[in-house]
Symmetry: C4
Subunit: 346 residues, 4 copies
């Protein structure tokens, strides 16, 4: 499948207060690359994304037991992309797949941060990553140990910037506290879940951090695992090769939230359909565009499993500019989950 003619030009945003620029749409390997998308499929998605101006590719040691990193690394090599043209990330926390032991291969101890990084770089066939994330907070390891360990990665040239994923605001503030105290580098970005249905952390909890430490966001799950595309409004579509996976996914979801809540979400999503139609975009594009409309979002990480999906996602770069204050208000009324504004007076 070749690149459509009418795609918008990619937009690049600074990663929070840092001097690094990432494409507003990026590609991530969670649940897909190295997993249920095969090698050739991954290569094709990455190539399509790169050709659309995507420069940021996101990974983690924990994705598909390291396969995700391997396949991404192979694609980078295969297409001979210049290292300085791309922004590669990975995340450390769940290194259990690479061990026989139940301990020390998970979390943010100095041991796992250093050993995990070396193993990730080997799988990626890279000398360094641009971004290294602490994939979760580790409440068993002292914050100072973790802050020092990530700075060690930066000092030894194995990573250029470090950040967090799914940390609480106060944990990020604690990390900065130790960085400041010791003259070290603090976390410049956070990777939270963010979409129309899950707003509170990005819109309220982190509010002080955008101003105080210039936190950048690379958000994942912008479509709430497909729910926001509207594809579940009539149940699970048949015949698709992912049907089985989706059955399991929804079953898992139900377990988490209850069937009633899932249905309530699907209903809300249905109400967004007319807005998408009015803007002339698919519902999935609207969902992604809505995420990009938040200026604190540096990049929305998408998990496309085909070139077509990649191209579709790129549409959001144009679509989000159509989201006028009026339309945003309309959407807020449908969603009915807008957190109260945080007022900062000090």
């Amino acid at each position: 499948m070749s690149k459509p003619d009418n795609l918008p030009e990619m937009e690049y945003r600074f990663l929070g207060r840092s001097g690094l620029q990432v494409s507003a749409i990026s590609l991530g390997g969670w649940l897909t690359y190295g997993g249920h998308v095969d090698r050739e499929g991954t290569y094709a998605c990455m190539k399509a994304a790169y050709d659309c101006g995507v420069n940021f590719f996101d990974c983690a040691e924990g994705y598909a037991e390291g396969e995700s990193e391997k396949v991404m690394g192979e694609a980078i090599k295969k297409y001979e992309w210049k290292r300085n043209d791309i922004v590669i990330s990975t995340k450390l926390y769940w290194g259990d797949a690479f061990s026989n032991s139940k301990v020390n291969n998970r979390g943010l101890s100095r041991k796992h941060v250093i050993e995990g990084m070396n193993q990730s770089l080997e799988r990626l066939q890279l000398e360094y990553v641009d971004l290294i994330y602490a994939h979760r907070p580790d409440r068993h390891t002292p914050m100072e140990e973790t802050v020092r360990a990530f700075n060690h990665l930066i000092n030894t040239g194995k990573a250029l910037y470090w950040g967090t994923s799914e940390w609480n605001a106060d944990e990020i503030a604690q990390a900065w506290r130790y960085a400041d105290k010791l003259g070290l580098i603090g976390p410049v970005m956070e990777q939270p879940r963010y979409n129309m249905l899950e707003r509170i952390q990005v819109e309220r909890e982190y509010a002080h951090l955008y101003r105080e430490v210039g936190l950048g966001l690379t958000v994942f799950s912008p479509m709430r695992q497909g729910i926001l595309s509207g594809k579940y409004k009539n149940g699970i579509p048949d015949g698709s090769r992912f049907a089985q996976t989706q059955v399991e996914f929804i079953a898992g979801f139900w377990k988490q939230t209850g069937k009633a809540e899932f249905q309530a979400m699907a209903d809300t999503v249905s109400k967004l359909e007319p807005i998408a139609e009015r803007l002339g975009v698919k519902q999935s594009v609207l969902a992604l565009a809505w995420v990009l409309a938040n200026p604190n979002v540096s990049s929305a990480i998408t998990g496309a499993s085909s070139q077509a999906q990649v191209y579709e996602n790129i549409e959001a770069v144009r679509a989000y500019k159509k989201l006028t204050p009026e339309i945003m208000k309309e959407i807020d009324e449908i969603l009915n989950n807008k957190p109260p504004t945080v007022t900062m007076r000090y």
Copy 2:
């Protein structure tokens, strides 16, 4: 000898306040590996321990003139253990064996810390150790020089954590004072002697340090070199291949403590026999379990010289949970050496 079926599952403990986890029972090379236990015997003990979940193997440059490190390094290679699954330590202070000169190869000068580390890593065939210990305090080297030298090892990737062995509480506090002043990393663990007969340092002297710096303990000599197993209550057992060594050992002991004191200890130990019987464990297991019952102990380093002994030691992981407050009180009354509690009010 194959692993018994009914062994308890290994327990892992954080090394003090750090994010590193070590098995509650660990294996050390003092007086054994590279010494009177031969190569094959060492390999077998290490394999048996590893198969029981032991992840921490302790060594020192001074053990068996470096042979201990060599044999341990060979075993790690032989069994192809993953580096991230194991915690390897060594200690620097007595490097005299590797020199013609009487000076600069002993102690904690920057010269010996750096040179000793490089030589240890070569013998171990490793790129780094997890833990590096200052094997004794060096009262001739300024504390600042030593703290800087161990941090140099960490910064250059040759060690992940540093600690001390048989330092006084105030020396550890001094090391932290310099670490704090210079923004460096302080010692996270201490390796003291600790057993039913030698309690004062661990239970009283270090008390402030558990709270103030989160000091972790990897204790050695949990059976007071076998005395607590009860095997000397009727004199020295015959026919064992270690008899001769033991004769010398006890002779040495007598020189240190006097024959009367040795007998007094043996008598005390005898009184513990009924308790062990009541709990259904050997006396040696009781002694080890008693050490593990102290929550400030991260790991008890054992010096098994056969697979059977390894397996026996593992029993302590289950046994220590049977040590109720009542039994602990009973033991304290027999031992009659419990230090007064330290009350911290500031």
Copy 3:
């Protein structure tokens, strides 16, 4: 062409407050080496300069899309100059030529500073440069990120000193503020444009910095791209191989300043002719000498495109000593652009 007999001995000056000495006249690659001067021509100029005592050769990643660095690197190799005898600089900011992407290859983010440095060293075939410049201020990257990135280059041995080019005085002061706060190394030199027609930044704006941080200056464009040589007083000379380039240059200049302003400058320059004649030097030598007469100038970077020009420039080392206070006053009256003196009272 061989070296004339009567050239003055080179003068060396400290680079601001630093302990490094650079030749008062240096050779730079802007618009010339790797560009419209061919390989052999560049080699010849560098050799001629070196033989006259020039020890400082200036370059930038952005000159001639990297060709300038390549040709300079080849010359250093070809003539087997000892690394300790020469001072090599390059500058980072415009790395766009080495990328497909529009982002992250320009500016002073940690990513570009580190990646740009590695690529420059490869082109130069050197392990390190003596001086690394931030070629422009990057107002999108936090100053702290930039200061840390340049210190990383120094700590990893890829550069010995760092500085700025065409930064504002307050930006330089901010860089020092972060360096001081973090115990890092501040920028020791600035590379501004400085000549008889452009004086305000060097003579007024930076005035506090010479005293407060000991800023050194390596100035470029000492002849205002040839205007100060007097060669444009009668229009553009014919027949020279650069005529076409010069037509474009002047056309470009006119666009920038307006034709009237260009003519006014040419008129002013004409009035300097009698002074040059009185001193027995060419007008271009007078212009360069005037730059050297400023004691805050560590080195004047010239862009000779022939050996003859190199030798001519060297004359300025002798000529500037003839610039008595009376002659300087006469020149100031002609130029009529002397900034008021900065008085520092605090």
Copy 4:
């Protein structure tokens, strides 16, 4: 010549407050090794010294234009001495021999400190030296630049300790001031000239530094270039292979001090002869012993040009213990140059 039977055992002293131990007598390469003593002669001296327990060998980039370092490096290799058994020093300042240029190869700029160190290590065939000295103060380079550069050598593992040679007390204090301010390592030792005839710097000027920073001394010229051996009391001895050198030496000396002053020194030295005789040692041994009697001296660097001289020097280790307070007083009365005691009250 084989080692005499009755030589005293070597004494080792801590280098000031540091944890490093150096032999009280050491061997230095000034004016000898790589110079007028040939290769085989140097090897023999070094071997003889090593066999007597000398562990400290002193060199400098400036000695014999680098030949001194080369020959010492060869001897270390030839005799296969263990690196941890010996203490090797060199000094940076006069690197002019390794350059065509008059600038940047002398002094203590970051450029020369780093480049000079790399070149010295190459000549010595070593990965690191134990001690690196700033061979003179460099009043053109800011102290902060020099302190940072020497710390860079330590951080990159090229040297273990740094110090100074012939610096003023206030310059050493300034270096410590910057080290303290920046959390860096200060100079731990100074290498001054010290002998019976030149006492003021060691005995008075540095007095505060022994207490305040624990300064160690490795003193050179303990016999004032042979004058204190008494060999010039009757003029210059004939027939020796160094006669010609000595003629020049004394001529040079005269230029420096005047013939009268030289004669006055020779007369003073003559008066020490009876004391040497009383103690049963040569006058040269008395001179060296007198230096060792100062407890602030860590090592006296001797420049023996034959094995016999090496063995003779070792005698001083025994001889200095015979210097009772009464004898010291008698010597002071002859020398008549004892500086007043420094009283420190703050």
